[in-house]
Assembly symmetry: C2
Homo-oligomer: 107 residues x 2
């Protein structure tokens, strides 16, 4: 999986377990692609400080994944629901296709 996709998924699942400040920094740098210097200036901390926070966030998110495996389970599950959706399309059962779409939107 591409690194940014993985990071986004990890953040989707476990981001709420980070502190508000960690979330701010993570969202700015990793998800919105702001530069370390920009974020450092905004929060009045050093560039190295921002860098360290991102490293610690990534570590925390990876630790949660290692314990709960939600991203792994999610990717697998998504694949299976997509398979069902294709089969339902082929067989022409729109009720199943509709439920699959609902599930995929929520996942």
């Amino acid at each position: 999986m591409e690194k940014i996709v993985k990071q986004t998924l990890l953040y989707d699942f476990y981001g709420e377990l980070l502190t508000i400040r960690q979330r701010q920094v993570y969202e700015s740098v990793v998800l919105e692609d702001c530069s370390l210097s920009e974020v450092a200036e905004e929060l009045s901390i050093s560039r190295q400080g921002v860098h360290d926070m991102i490293r610690r966030c990534n570590q925390a998110l990876e630790d949660y994944e290692q314990k709960l495996h939600l991203v792994e389970r999610f990717v697998e599950l998504r694949g299976k629901v997509k398979k069902i959706s294709v089969l339902a399309d082929e067989a022409g059962i729109p009720e199943i296709t509709a439920i699959c779409s609902e599930v995929l939107e929520e996942l």
Copy 2:
């Protein structure tokens, strides 16, 4: 949802985030239905100590759920996959039924 079912689901999802000692106590008292006194004696702590640990575990598990909503999402998802399975059965598409069974086993 019945309290014990809820507690079991919460523990299934977030148990790994508790400490080893918390897990021991939680499994003995809540999942295996041992008495507080039994567990207290086994771990050489007071009955009240066991009681407090369970209370703190329940609080921690509830806090994780409030942040991540995994149990809620899981119950909803399970319901939808079961619906797909019934529809696939009715329409006679064993490939879909098989994938549903796989998903339900993993969920």
